[in-house]
C-alpha cells in the first residue's frame, strides 16, 4: 500500500470515528425527550449499494446502535 493510499484510509477512518462520536452525541440529546429509535437500516441499505457488503453493513449498524445506546446510559429524561 502506498503512503498516499494509507493516508487516505486513515483520513476515512478518522471521519468514520468522528461521525460515530456525533451519532452518540445526538443519541444522548434524543433520549432526553423520547426513547432512542433503532437505526433506519432498510433505508440505509436501500441507499448504499456500493462495495461494502450488505451483511457486513448490517453488523456494523448493530454495533453502532449498541454503542450509541451505551452512550445514553445515565442520561436523565
Amino acid at each position: 500500500m502506498s503512503l498516499t493510499l494509507r493516508h487516505q484510509l486513515t483520513a476515512l477512518d478518522r471521519a468514520l470515528a468522528h461521525l460515530l462520536d456525533e451519532r452518540a452525541r445526538l443519541s444522548r440529546e434524543m433520549v432526553r425527550g423520547a426513547p432512542l429509535p433503532a437505526p433506519a437500516l432498510d433505508d440505509v441499505l436501500a441507499r448504499t449499494q456500493g462495495d461494502f457488503p450488505a451483511p457486513a453493513l448490517e453488523r456494523v449498524f448493530e454495533a453502532v446502535d449498541a454503542g450509541c445506546r451505551q452512550a445514553t446510559e445515565g442520561v436523565s429524561r
Binding site: A15, L19, R25, E29, G33
Partner: protein
C-alpha cells in the same frame, strides 16, 4: 504592535512595561487572555522604541498586525474567542445554526417560524424588526413591536434571538426587549457611530461584511467594536458584490481559512443573502461548514410566497431541516461537533 509576553510574567512587570510605553504618549490595551499577558500598542510607535521594547526579557514575541486592528488580531488571544448568545456558544468548536424569517411580520407568523426553527434543530432565532430596504416603499419592519414579538417567540421555544439594529437610537429598544444578539447589517458595517453605540451596550454583536468591504475594512470595523468595549463579536460573511449577476452576491468562502489566520473571532456564513436563490442555500451551507465556518445563518419562512421581505431566498421548513442535518454531517466528518439545542425553560413548551 502586539507584544506577547512570556507566560508567568508578573503583573507588576506587565504594568511597568505599559507605563513605559504610555509614557511616550501611546495608548495600550491589555488582553483578557488568561494564559499569558498580551499588550497591544494601538498608536503608531517609532521603530527604534518598538525594537527597544521587543528586546526586553519579558517580551517573547512582537507582532505587527496586517492592518488597522489590534484587539481582533489573531495574536491578541491564545485560542479562539467564543461568544455566548443566550445559552448558545458561537465559536466554541461546535456548529451553530441561526434561522428564521427575514422580517418579523406578526405575532402568529414569528411564533410559527420559531417552532419551525426549533423543530429543525436550529439554535438561534433570527428576525428583522428594523429593515434596511433598498426601496423606501418596501416593508420597513414592525420596529419595537417586532422586537417584542421576536423575543416572545424565542422564549416560547427556548431559543435566543438576534435582530438587526440600524441606528444608535435603537440600542435602548434592544436592551428593553433583551435581544440576545445585535446584528449589524452589511450596509452599516462602517457606520462607526452605530458601532461605538453598540459596543457600549455590552451585548453580543454579529457584524456582517459590507457589500464591497475588503477583509481589512471588515476587521477594522470589528476593531471599532473591540476598542469601545465589546469583546463579544461574531463575524458573518454574506457575499460580496462582484461582476457576477447570476446570484444576488458572490459568497466569498476564501475568507474562512484566511480569517482563521488573521483573527480570533468566530465566523458565520449567511448563504441565503449570498445566493438569493433557495436551491443554492444547502450546498453553500455545506461548503461553509467544510471551509471552517462556526455555523450558518439562513432564512426560512412557512410560506415564502407570502413573505413581506426576501421571500424569494427563504427556505421552506422541510428544506431547513435538511440543511441543518447536512451541516451536522459535514461538520462531524471534519471532527466538529454540533451544538446541543438549548431547551426551553418549561419542558411543556416542547410539546406544543
Amino acid at each position: 504592535m502586539i507584544l506577547r509576553l512570556r507566560i508567568g510574567t508578573p503583573a507588576e512587570v506587565v504594568q511597568e512595561l505599559r507605563t513605559l510605553i504610555e509614557g511616550q504618549g501611546l495608548r495600550t490595551f491589555l488582553s483578557p487572555e488568561p494564559s499569558r499577558p498580551i499588550v497591544a500598542i494601538v498608536d503608531k510607535a517609532p521603530q527604534a522604541l518598538v525594537d527597544q521594547w521587543a528586546a526586553r526579557p519579558e517580551v517573547e514575541q512582537a507582532i505587527v498586525p496586517r492592518g488597522e486592528w489590534r484587539l481582533v488580531d489573531r495574536a491578541w488571544r491564545e485560542g479562539r474567542t467564543s461568544v455566548s448568545v443566550g445559552r448558545v456558544c458561537v465559536g466554541a468548536g461546535e456548529t451553530v445554526i441561526i434561522a428564521g424569517p427575514c422580517s418579523v411580520e406578526g405575532r402568529d407568523l414569528i411564533l410559527e417560524g420559531a417552532r419551525i426553527c426549533r423543530d429543525a434543530g436550529a439554535h438561534i432565532l433570527r428576525g428583522g424588526a428594523f429593515k434596511p430596504r433598498t426601496s423606501p416603499y418596501a416593508f420597513q419592519g414592525l420596529g419595537r413591536e417586532g422586537l417584542a414579538q421576536l423575543k416572545d417567540a424565542g422564549e416560547s421555544v427556548g431559543l435566543p434571538v438576534i435582530s438587526e439594529i440600524m441606528d444608535a437610537t435603537q440600542v435602548d429598544s434592544f436592551r428593553d426587549y433583551d435581544i440576545d444578539c445585535m446584528q449589524v447589517g452589511a450596509r452599516n458595517m462602517q457606520n462607526f457611530t452605530l458601532l461605538k453605540a453598540i459596543a457600549a451596550a455590552g451585548r453580543p454583536v454579529l457584524l456582517k461584511r459590507g457589500l464591497s468591504a475588503t477583509v481589512a475594512e471588515w476587521l477594522a470595523a470589528a476593531e471599532y467594536l473591540a476598542a469601545h468595549g465589546s469583546e463579544q463579536i461574531i463575524l458573518c460573511e454574506r457575499g460580496i458584490r462582484t461582476f457576477e449577476t447570476a446570484t444576488r452576491n458572490t459568497l466569498d468562502l476564501t475568507v474562512l481559512p484566511l480569517l482563521r489566520q488573521w483573527t480570533h473571532l468566530p465566523i458565520l456564513v449567511d448563504p441565503s443573502h449570498a445566493a438569493g436563490i433557495p436551491e443554492l442555500v444547502a450546498p453553500l451551507a455545506r461548503a461553509a461548514i467544510a471551509a471552517g465556518a462556526d455555523g450558518v445563518a439562513v432564512e426560512v419562512h412557512p410560506r415564502p410566497d407570502e413573505a413581506l421581505s426576501d421571500g424569494a431566498q427563504a427556505l421552506l421548513p422541510g428544506e431547513l431541516t435538511r440543511v441543518v442535518a447536512e451541516c451536522r454531517v459535514v461538520g462531524a466528518v471534519l471532527g466538529r461537533a454540533f451544538h446541543a439545542q438549548p431547551q426551553p425553560k418549561g419542558a411543556a413548551a416542547l410539546a406544543t
